[in-house]
Symmetry: C2
């Protein structure tokens, strides 16, 4: 039985506390949040507190707070026999300041409070100071999830910026597509099957091989026709990404 | 019973001929391709030819050839009582030159020859010169599909450029994400659940409301950290899309 304390009242903290409270092999020892209102509903399952000085003893403390608060919070947890792990994609493990063992328990997914989380599909990106701790974090992750990766701080930084491209920037491509549709009274839903297909394709082909379209074919006639239909900002993006797709082709 | 002739031996032509050959309410009268080898397997179901002068009489001729060949092929089909429709996203209906009725039968999806097509999820974007023809094309589309839209030539041009953003440019975002992963020995599959989630999210939220991340939050510290990890080309794209996401925020 692994004893876990969750630190935080946000989306990640809440979903994790919720998941751990339902597994047999984990004892959710306590949930902490500065604002105790956020964690009232955990009262039924476990001890809750808003006093960081009164944390109970546990094997693993998961700090799911904002990036800037990680160091400060970790200083309060000085337990040499425990792992103190944060959940951030962009913060180094060594930002944790403690006498205990440091770790990272990063879930690569965007969470929203209202939406049910399917932990079976979420990659758990784990890091620890030694093999024993890594094994414990892995055992813990597997009580609620399936896909576990060992990702060090350097790799995680890169993964985080890669995630910005495939999530935020991709979403902005959808946004531009939706803008173009809206301007011309075309329902955006017409594009949704293509969006789904594009996302599914790269589970079977690598993205470079999956590429199609006028940029890849260097179909200048279509490219010029497209540019004539766009506003200045859209043109800048169209030109830059088209160029980038084509440079890529040359490297082959 | 609608009589259909399919003109072309490529992916779209093949998938359409295949689908029509299996429905009860359509008679696949003939398949034409310049290179008859491409359509040999339709011999079992229907007449095939590589002589454009020997097309049989039908209600609808679907010209699924390359954009540049549409006009030339359409000149060969002068049947006043038939609809002659092309399948291109980027060519105007009036590129068809015929004594017959003009139409468009555009399927907004990327096709590959080897991959089975699920027509139930594909949007059929239809255009015709009059309501009667539009109804006939709609009836025809619904024998094999479900999602039918009336999209005129101006709208279709815009839809085609929007599709480049949500398909080709999105795929390039995946490519950059994969490059970053590969350089640092992180398996790209770690990003795939996030990619899937991002694509699914916009079926429930519009892309503008679905946006998250450092650009949206104007989190300059993270943005600068990210830029320091990227090569020059990736930086250009990161900066431009970040700026575009933020300009968008201002308009709100």
């Amino acid at each position: 039985m692994i004893k876990v304390v969750i630190i935080g009242g946000g989306n990640v903290a809440t979903h994790l506390a919720d998941a751990f409270s339902k597994t047999n092999n984990v004892s959710l020892t306590q949930v902490y949040a500065r604002n105790i209102e956020q964690i009232q509903h955990f009262k039924k399952f476990t001890s809750i507190t808003n006093n960081i000085e009164q944390l109970k003893k546990a094997d693993v403390y998961i700090i799911a707070v904002s990036d800037d608060a990680i160091t400060e919070v970790s200083r309060k947890i000085n337990l040499p026999d425990s792992i103190i792990a944060h959940t951030s994609g962009s913060v180094e493990m060594n930002a944790i300041k403690t006498n205990g063992s440091k770790g990272v328990f990063y879930l690569l997914q965007s969470f929203s409070k209202s939406k049910e989380v399917n932990f079976d599909t979420i990659p758990f990106c784990l890091e620890a100071e030694n093999e024993k701790d890594l094994q414990l974090l892995e055992t813990l992750a597997k009580t609620i999830g399936k896909n576990v990766y060992h990702i060090n701080s350097e790799q995680r930084k890169r993964l985080h910026v890669a995630a910005v491209f495939v999530n935020n920037f991709t979403n902005h491509m959808y946004k531009i597509g939706a803008d173009i549709c809206n301007e011309h009274q075309v329902p955006f839903e017409v594009l949704q099957p293509l969006i789904k297909e594009t996302a599914e394709k790269i589970t079977k082909l690598n993205p470079e091989d999956a590429q199609t379209g006028p940029a890849k074919r260097n179909d200048q006639k279509t490219i010029q026709n497209h540019l004539a239909l766009l506003n200045t900002e859209q043109q800048k993006i169209y030109k830059l990404i088209t160029k980038s797709i084509q440079q890529n082709g040359e490297k082959l």
